[in-house]
Amino acid sequence: MITIKDLKFWYSKKNIIFEGLDLQLEPGHIYGLLGKNGAGKTTLLKLFCGLNFPKSGSVSIDGTDPAKRQAGFLSEIFLLPEQISVPALTPEKFARINGPFYPAFDPARFMELLDKFEIKAKQNLSGMSYGQKKKAMIAFALAVNTRYLFLDEPTNGMDIPSKAAFRSILASAFSEDKTIILSTHMVRDLESLIDTVIILEDRRIILNTPLNLIARKLSFSRSSLSLTPAEIVYSASGELGPVNISLNHTDLEGNIDLEALFNACIYVPEKISACLVS
């Protein structure tokens, strides 16, 4: 379990990233971490891993302080940063020298994943495109079988078939003892994957709610014909026309438009909170 208590963090005192942040993340979920540029998504992932240290408050994963970067703790987490940089080695060699550090690393699974992503195991990583490097690293990230997996903008630089492959591979790699956190701007790429959405805004978390609860409480529709203006909680303009968010009066769970939800949380956070607790 990931627990954050009263976290305060800044890179420079003039620009405080988090203040009084509390969060508890249970295993068995795929969390989608959303936020505007500079909201602190990557920083939060770094704090989870112990790459940044809290200025005050605490972060702990299964009772361990990540900042200590103990070997046993590190063998249970994997962070795939947004910017991929790899040594001039083949994926096969890369896995051979780095895989043994992770007790649950499965070399056969790594080869299988490379195959699914159509990456050659014997081609040098330095000669690959950015998307190919990313896929090779995602294959490694999934093959190490850590209990905590943090992926920062994982679909950045991927082509459309690769994004689909990534979604199905990640879904198949997930199990109840794992916690996966995906930080992304591209909500459409991952909305079918995540089961809980976390939104960061203005130094704190403004939403940390399972999608099924949101779907029970809120309704997302492209047509406003059946809605009175008073019923519309938020109306977001989209490429295919406006998306109206209103209270869901049925017992059915409808589809969620994550982009509209995100905008609503940013612009009318009180209204959304009120709807979700009602």
Partner: protein, 273 residues
């Protein structure tokens, strides 16, 4: 699981480091070998000894750079910091290559090249009256009979450069080489100035000997004044200072060990911004 030091994990780190950097290590070895060949050919009666020491020290710094210089590359540095091994093991891998392996390889390389160069010179000048076996014997004898203080000075200089390089590589995110050189020259300048003032003020009659001493930086930096300064007068003057000289060695050794320790703590406290 031993969280601080596990031999298996350490060996994995050593293997990983070699696999990722072997091209650079072999290239460095080639450059050092070439420099050693040239130094062996052109050095005459220890006139280029300071260059041997600089070559030795900068090679060690180059080895250090490969492990701790990627902080601005978030991908590689986060992967390195999050690799499941303790910070101590990662740091020791740096010392293993930058200190232990480097010194071993340099020493073997030095001996091999001395023999190699002697062979070449004997082949090129067959009329040389001194037999080959004697040339080799003399060469080896010279290495063995070198004063302890020479090796100590070489080792301490190496440790000074390498420990300073290591802490700069770990502490700074970018421009590390610039910071390293800046701090290095600042220390040498302040140290030399201090020594210069001290010596000139207190030992007027040997002052000139110091000023014209070869390897001027090392003369003052060196804990053993008698080695680098060719002036007999200075050697005689300092001959009574042997115990002080040895204490001086020890003090430097402790200082450099502390810099290594500071580097280890810096690595533990390293954040990625």
């Amino acid at each position: 699981m031993n969280e601080t030091l596990n031999f298996t994990r350490f060996l994995l780190l050593v293997k990983r480091q070699w696999t990722e950097n072997k091209t650079f290590y072999l290239l460095l070895w080639g450059i050092i070998s070439l420099c050693l060949v040239l130094l062996n050919i052109f050095s005459d009666n220890h006139s280029l000894d300071a260059l041997y020491i600089f070559l030795f020290s900068f090679g060690g710094c180059a080895m250090t750079v490969t492990l701790f210089s990627n902080w601005k590359d978030t991908g590689r540095s986060s992967f390195f910091l999050l690799l499941p091994a303790s910070t101590t093991e990662k740091f020791l891998t740096g010392l293993f290559y930058g200190l232990f392996m480097y010194i071993l390889v340099y020493a073997v390389n030095f001996l091999f090249i001395r023999i190699f160069v002697t062979c070449i010179l004997v082949l090129l000048f067959p009329n040389n009256l001194v037999p080959f076996s004697q040339e080799i014997r003399e060469g080896m004898k010279e290495i063995v009979s070198m004063k302890f203080s020479f090796y100590m000075v070489a080792f301490l200089t190496f440790m000074f450069f390498q420990s300073l390089c290591m802490i700069c590589m770990i502490r700074f995110k970018r421009w590390q080489v610039f910071y390293f050189l800046f701090i290095l020259f600042a220390i040498l300048f302040i140290y030399n100035l201090g020594m210069h003032i001290l010596i000139l003020n207190n030992l007027d009659y040997v002052g000139h000997a110091f000023i014209r001493a070869p390897g001027f930086i090392l003369t003052y930096y060196s804990p053993d004044f008698s080695y680098l300064d060719t002036s007999t007068k200075v050697q005689e003057f300092f001959s009574f200072l042997k115990p002080i000289r040895n204490i001086n060695f020890l003090v430097w050794l402790v200082i450099f060990s502390l810099i290594y320790m500071a580097s280890l703590f810096s690595l533990k406290e390293r954040e990625l911004k």
